[in-house]
């Protein structure tokens, strides 16, 4: 059976194993499939998560690239994101600095490029370059000025917040400092301005001089050219004339160049001056304003002079241009004539001036014919020329008009500029004046306010003085009064103290008398108490006189003594009367006697235990005697704290009572005996009565003695 079971178990186990094993392989295969499948799905999941994260990050970066605020937020919230952003986008662009650079207008001196173009072309090109340079110089010259101004402005800006941060208490010091600084600045500024002005004036004068010289040269050249054109001098003079002309021309060009250079210099200096003035203006020192204004006026006048001179030079130049054009035309005509002459009489040489008399008759005839023809031609040409002249004049006029217009425009613009400048200067001057007026007025108002303030202060001080005086008087009076009262009080105190001493002494005397009296009383009381105690002791003693089986002496005597001794004491009287009369008359039994009697009572009570109130028959007596004989109980048994129903058996009660009696507790024994019923109770009644008497007497006596003791104690402690 066991083997069968084992076999069955084995087979079952094996089946199980096989069962598990058979699907094991497919499971493995499945697992491989599932792992593959799971692998692919896992790969998909991984790829999806990577894409999501990458997309998120890329989107964040792109948006941060577009919105700098967003970038800042992200950088603040996500640590190390700023590094990522720096890597991806580069450092964040700092917030745009609000820069307000003051644009200094370069001094508008009429461009000399036109003038220089007219003088000479190759030189004009050089000069054009030079013309470009001042434009380049102009901005750089103002540019350093700009930076200076910007720097000055920045320092000014720095000044202002620093001023707000300083405490109010330093205002005076700061004002003094500021004044000093202002003074320093002012002096430096004025010196700067003067220097600049001096240099600029010098240079401008130089420029003006150069321009004048140029003007002179141009005029001379023009005159000479005109002379040369119009005068018909012999050829050698002409050549000298032309040479002189050429000299004059070179002179003119040179002077013009010089003038141009001087003007450049002057322009540069003026720009510098302008820059210095602007810098001074930026510092915003009020006191420097008139000097600044003066400097500006000077600048303006210099500019105006320079412009006028330049315009004069320009007009001269234009005139010279006209003359030169005229000369060119003349030369052209001469060349044309020469050509024609050459074409008609080729054998005659080019310069008809060189003809000296080498001509033959034919030549002369042909020459005369040619001359006539030439005259006709010339007449025709003249007529043609007249017409052309008209046209030319018209065109020249138009050109002149244009040029005039241009010059006018330029002049107008410069005049406008000058006017504007003038107006501006006047305005500034007026502003300055009004400012001064305002300042003066403000000063007067402030002075008035200060005066009013001082008046007010004076009044307030007066009022305060009065108040303080009245206060002081009050205080004085009150202190005086106080001192008087104090004095009075002190005298009164002295009197009082004296009377107090006297009364104290009297009171002491009285007290002593009273004390003596009370002492007497107390002693009386003590005596009485002693007496009481003595009588109580006597009573106690009489209690002790109880012999065995005999009562004590009658306590009457002692009680009487007590009554006599404490005639006034109600408590003692009450107690004394509380004694039972039997004790007084007959005396009481002692405890020992009672104890002894008890055993006899006990025996009797045992014998009549079965007899109850109905006074059973004699047979019952016989039975109870039998019971008493046969029943054995403990001689003494400790009574329990609470009596139960079964404890009320006679025998038990008696044993309890015996125990308590043996242990001196008469009271408890009496209580227990009181619980007896029937005949036993009747039998024990006598004993009980005696016991009661004894107990009562003892109680009263103990009370009395305690009272006497208390009284004695009370009296011995002196009041």
């Amino acid at each position: 059976m066991l083997r069968v079971c084992l076999k069955g178990a084995n087979s079952a186990a094996r089946k199980c194993l096989c069962g598990n094993g058979v699907p094991l392989h497919p499971l493995q295969q499945c697992r491989s499939y599932t792992s593959g499948g799971s692998g692919s799905s896992a790969g998909k999941i991984v790829a999806a998560s990577v894409f999501t994260v990458g997309g998120g990050v890329g989107g964040t970066i792109l948006y941060a690239n577009w919105d700098p605020k967003f970038r800042a937020n992200v950088e603040k919230s996500i640590p190390y994101s700023d590094q990522l952003f720096g890597l991806a986008l580069g450092p964040a662009a700092p917030p745009p600095v609000i820069n307000k650079p003051r644009k200094v207008e370069p001094v508008q001196i009429s461009s000399m490029s036109e003038v220089w173009k007219d003088s000479k072309h190759p030189k004009a090109k050089e000069v054009e370059k030079k013309a470009e340079q001042p434009d380049a110089e102009g901005p750089p010259a103002p540019a350093p000025q700009e930076t200076l101004e910007a720097a000055a402005k920045c320092t000014e800006c720095e000044h202002e917040p620093a001023v707000k941060e300083r405490p109010e208490g330093e205002v005076a010091a700061r004002l003094a400092e500021q004044d000093k600084a202002e003074q320093d600045l002012l002096t430096s500024l004025s010196s700067n301005l003067e220097d600049a002005l001096g240099s600029t004036a010098k240079v401008t004068l130089q420029a003006i001089g150069a321009q004048e010289a140029a003007l002179q040269a141009i005029a001379q050249h023009t005159r000479q050219l005109r002379e040369a054109m119009e005068a018909e001098a012999p050829p050698d003079k002409k050549s000298t004339q032309w040479r002189v002309l050429e000299d004059a021309l070179s002179e003119r060009s040179r002077s013009v160049d010089e003038a141009g250079a001087a003007v450049l210099k002057a322009k540069a200096e003026l720009d510098k001056l302008r820059g210095v003035i602007d810098g001074a203006k930026h510092l915003k020192i009020a006191a420097a304003r008139p000097s600044i204004l003066a400097a500006e006026e000077n600048l303006h006048s210099m500019v105006v002079d320079l412009d006028s001179v330049v315009t004069r030079v320009q007009t001269a130049q234009s005139e010279a241009k006209i003359v030169s054009q005229y000369s060119e035309l003349v030369n052209e005509a001469k060349a044309q004539f020469q050509k024609e002459l050459n074409s008609i009489t080729p054998e005659i040489q080019a310069n008809w001036k060189g003809l000296t008399g080498k001509l033959t008759q034919d030549d002369l005839n042909s020459l005369i014919a040619h001359a006539h023809r030439r005259i006709d031609q010339l007449n025709r040409e003249l007529a043609e020329q007249r017409v052309r002249e008209q046209i030319h004049i018209d065109s020249a006029l138009e050109q002149q008009k244009l040029e005039d217009k241009k010059a006018l425009e330029v002049a107008i613009s410069t005049a406008l500029e000058h006017n504007r400048e003038q107006m501006r200067l006047e305005q500034e001057k007026k502003v300055e004046e009004t400012r001064e007026v305002m300042e003066a007025e403000m000063r007067t108002q402030l002075r008035r306010q200060a005066a009013a303030h001082t008046d007010h202060l004076r009044d307030v001080l007066k009022v305060q003085e009065q108040e303080l005086r009245s206060e002081a008087e009050e205080i004085l009076n009150s202190s005086l009064m106080e001192k008087e009262t104090e004095y009075r009080r002190l005298t009164q105190d002295q009197l009082d103290s004296f009377t107090l001493d006297m009364s104290a002494a009297y009171a002491r005397l009285k007290g002593m008398e009273e004390a003596i009296d009370s002492h007497v009383i107390a002693e009386e009381e003590a005596r009485k108490a002693h007496q009481l105690w003595l009588s109580v002791e006597a009573l106690n003693y009489t209690l002790k006189t109880a012999a065995l089986n005999d009562p004590t002496e009658p306590l009457e005597g002692a009680v009487q003594a007590i009554k006599e001794s404490c005639a006034e004491d109600e408590f003692a009287q009450a107690l004394a009367t509380a004694l039972p009369s039997e004790s007084l008359s007959r005396g009481v039994y002692s405890e020992a006697s009672l104890r002894a009697r008890f055993y006899a009572i006990r025996q009797l009570a045992r014998r009549v235990a079965l007899i109850d109130e109905t006074r059973n028959s004699l047979y019952q007596y016989f039975l109870s005697y039998l019971q008493a004989m046969l029943l054995f109980e403990k001689a003494q048994e400790a009574p329990p704290a609470k009596l139960s129903a079964e404890d009320l058996d006679t025998f038990k009660l008696l044993s309890y009572a015996a125990y308590s009696l043996e242990h001196g507790d008469l009271e408890l024994a009496a209580k227990l005996v009181n619980q007896l019923k029937g005949e036993s109770r009747r039998v024990a009644q006598d004993w009980l009565k005696e016991a009661r008497l004894t107990l009562e007497t003892k109680q009263v006596v103990s009370l009395l003695s305690a009272y006497a003791n208390a009284v004695g104690l009370g009296t011995t402690m002196a009041p």
């Binding site: 006899a600 009572i601 059973n616 006598d686 004993w687």
Partner: protein, 75 residues
């Protein structure tokens, strides 16, 4: 009060004894005189005496507050 019990018993016994003796005597007398020296009156008489004594005793014990007077002879 304790003695009362003893006294009672004394009295009772004395009384019973007297009564029994009296009964006996009367019984004897009657037996001799009237009943031809039979014993039954003696028994009867003693029994009567005993019974009376018993009854008295009982009565005495049952009535504790009954006083027994004593004649005091004046000298």
């Amino acid at each position: 009060m304790a003695n009362e019990h003893g006294q009672k018993w004394d009295r009772c016994l004395a009384d019973s004894a007297v009564k029994i003796a009296t009964g006996l005597g009367v019984g004897i007398v009657f037996s001799v005189l009237f009943f031809k020296r039979r014993t039954w009156p003696v028994a009867f008489g003693s029994g009567v005496g005993l019974g009376m004594g018993y009854s008295n005793c009982q009565q005495d014990f049952r009535s504790p507050y009954q006083l027994h007077g004593h004649r005091v002879k004046e000298p």
